[in-house]
């Protein structure tokens, strides 16, 4: 997920805070960002110092500049950062954040 390719945001880009849904699931958390006009090549997702950052440059414009969606979330150490998966479809970026081994519920059978 952490692609080291150069991701540049145009200087005249207009920053927009995208709407998100955060959904709790049994195996982790799913975050869905609305990023219309952006595709897999124009989206950058990174995790640094426990902060998940999403940037996406859209083909849509506002006030003469391209729209750049930006949002960041502080992750708890219950998230397995190495297992995060991302996909985009119809202008919605979906991130699946699996629970780390620490957060997994281990049921112990009493003998």
């Amino acid at each position: 997920m952490e692609d080291k390719k150069c991701f540049s945001v145009p200087e005249n880009a207009v920053e927009v805070r995208p709407a998100v849904d955060v959904i709790e699931e049994d195996c982790g958390v799913k975050i869905m960002f609305e990023v219309p006009g952006a595709n897999s090549g124009s989206i950058d997702v990174s995790v640094e110092d426990g902060v998940l950052t999403m940037r996406a440059v859209s083909s849509l414009t506002r006030n003469g500049g391209p729209i750049c969606y930006y949002r960041a979330f502080q992750l708890s150490d219950m998230v397995d950062v190495s297992g995060i998966q991302a996909k985009t479809q119809d202008g919605v970026l979906t991130l699946c954040l699996p629970k780390s081994e620490r957060a997994t519920v281990h049921k112990i059978k009493v003998e």
Partner: protein, 155 residues
């Protein structure tokens, strides 16, 4: 087809209400503050989702609406009025109901907006595509001669 373009005033007034004198007064009172924009007070056009731009041969309308499928859209062109409706084809709402939301900001309600196009168009030749969450509509412009305007040369 709603022949009246939707009033873009966010307060939902359905009649023409002139706010020009009041707007001028507010502008004169607050224009000394940097960054003051009267459209934030009076609504202006900031709540519209249809981005209309006139090209040489066609009118381009972009409508950001992520997470839908093409069956969700109904597009009508009557005269110079364009209406876009977004209706849930069923599968979107059904998959939303049984989820455990921690944050829920995305909207999956039906939506409708009408806009009067700035130039005469050929509505029958309208093309639309839905890609990357953006509905793009291209409506060819009507040549000036077909709009009841006749150019007369002076000999």
């Amino acid at each position: 087809m709603n022949m009246l373009a939707r009033n873009r005033n966010p307060r939902g007034l359905n009649f023409e209400l002139s706010t020009q004198p009041l707007e001028e007064m507010v502008k004169s009172m607050f224009s000394c503050f940097p960054g003051f924009r009267s459209d934030l007070v009076f609504g202006g056009q900031i709540d519209t989702k249809l981005d209309v731009s006139v090209k040489d041969k066609y009118v381009e309308v972009k409508f950001p609406c992520p997470g839908r499928c093409k069956e969700d859209f109904e597009i009508e062109v009557v005269g110079d009025f364009l209406t876009v409706r977004v209706v849930d084809c069923g599968k979107h709402k059904a998959c939303c109901d049984d989820k455990r939301y921690v944050i829920r900001e995305r909207v999956c309600e039906s939506y409708e907006e009408s806009v009067k196009l700035p130039v005469p168009v050929k509505g029958a030749e309208t093309r639309a595509k839905y890609e990357h969450g953006v509905l793009e509509i291209a409506i060819p412009r009507m040549s000036e001669g077909k709009n009841g305007t006749h150019v007369v040369k002076v000999s």
